[in-house]
């Protein structure tokens, strides 16, 4: 049987079908959580922001227009929710510019993180907030450039340059010898 599109499920949910929502939730549960967690860098905050994002999505379901791609609509709501949170918490910045390092990690864990994957994660964490946001929408959400631009509220060229700068920085950090 053909898998139903996000937009079909969304229309069914907007009409009152709970199962359609459950299907959408199952589909986007992990990627959305990953995006929010890696964007804000703190699990407790991420849990709150993730739940709050879904609450906003649920509230906004009647305003969804069927021809709009669901994924972009959903990520925009989540992105705006995270931004609002950080604007309220720290008016001078939109996002923490650098994630707090996990000081609770034991020696073995720290050793394990010396691998390439751990270095990648650390490098992403250290990206400037705007570049990290754009990159995560590409890597985790899998959005295309125009949609990323729309979610971030910038033009397409700005979105592209943020991702390019982020990629260049990551490559540079990953090529450096581990230390």
């Amino acid at each position: 049987m053909r898998e139903r599109s996000d937009e079909e499920l969304m229309a069914e949910w907007a009409a009152g079908g709970l199962q359609a929502f459950e299907a959408l939730y199952a589909r986007y549960r992990n990627p959305l959580y990953r995006y929010i967690l890696r964007l804000c860098g703190n699990e407790a905050t991420a849990n709150d922001l993730y739940q709050g994002s879904w609450e906003k999505i649920i509230k906004a379901r009647r305003r969804y227009r069927p021809h709009a791609p669901f994924r972009a609509w959903m990520y925009r709501i989540a992105h705006n929710h995270v931004m609002d949170h950080f604007r309220r918490a720290r008016p001078e910045t939109n996002l923490p510019t650098e994630r707090l390092r996990d000081e609770s990690a034991g020696p073995d864990e720290r050793l394990e993180r010396s691998g390439r994957e751990a270095r990648l994660r650390a490098a992403v964490d250290e990206l400037p907030a705007k570049q990290r946001d754009a990159l995560l929408l590409k890597l985790d959400a899998g959005l295309d450039l125009a949609t990323i631009a729309d979610v971030l509220g910038v033009n397409r060229e700005t979105a592209k340059s943020r991702i390019r700068y982020a990629v260049a920085r990551l490559k540079q950090q990953l090529e450096e010898p581990a230390g």
Partner: protein, 208 residues
């Protein structure tokens, strides 16, 4: 959603070589520890979605119940209307009586009742159905008086009943028509209301 998002569905807009640049990083990124929301958060979100749909579901079920309730009320109202209609007078067997009744003046006095009750009566479906019926005959009125007597609501003053003289006229007409059975019935009713009223000799015989 803005035009930018709609435009994004166009294939040439997708990447601008970024996907190629990201290829190596994407592979490593996928291998990172999978993260997922805590089960409690999942449950909270699903419950929130369920609650959000509750009003619509309730509205749907109450619409169904509303229809059922309306149908029930209509059936009950019809039942009450039919139940309250006065029993039909058998006009085929009483042509002379009908003729004599037509000559009688229509009773003008109505049972006295409080204003509120009168208003309710006037607007009730039963009242409307009675309005649509032909004027009640003295016999029907007598039955009604007896019924009200049983209920203790009858006004025993003469003003609420057909006049005794009129009633006597009616009974005389029945006697002349040879409708003995109906005459006896009327006589019994008459005596129940006017126990002391003197009867003409012609009817006094019947009473014996």
């Amino acid at each position: 959603m803005s035009d930018k998002i709609r435009k994004s569905e166009h294939p040439k807009d997708l990447d601008d070589g970024l996907d190629h640049e990201l290829a190596g990083i994407r592979e490593d990124w996928k291998r990172l520890d999978p993260v997922e929301p805590p089960e409690l958060v999942d449950r909270a979100v699903l419950n929130r979605a369920r609650r959000d749909l509750e009003p619509a579901r309730k509205a749907r079920s109450s619409r169904w119940l509303g229809g059922l309730a309306t149908a029930t009320v209509v059936v009950l109202a019809l039942t009450v209307m039919l139940d309250q209609s006065p029993p039909g007078v058998d006009t085929t067997s009483e042509p002379l009586l009908e003729e004599s009744l037509r000559k009688l003046p229509t009773p003008t006095a109505t049972p006295a009742m409080p204003a509120e009750t009168a208003e309710l009566e006037d607007s009730s479906p039963a009242r409307l159905s009675q309005d649509a019926l032909p004027p009640a005959s003295p016999r029907a009125m007598t039955r009604e008086v007896r019924r009200q007597e049983k209920l203790g609501t009858a006004d025993t003053e003469g003003k609420t009943l057909p006049g005794a003289e009129e009633w006597i006229e009616e009974m005389l007409a029945l006697k002349r028509a040879g409708l003995t059975e109906q005459l006896n019935e009327e006589m019994t009713a008459f005596r129940a209301i006017y126990p002391e009223f003197p009867l003409p000799a012609e009817l006094a015989e019947e009473q014996l």
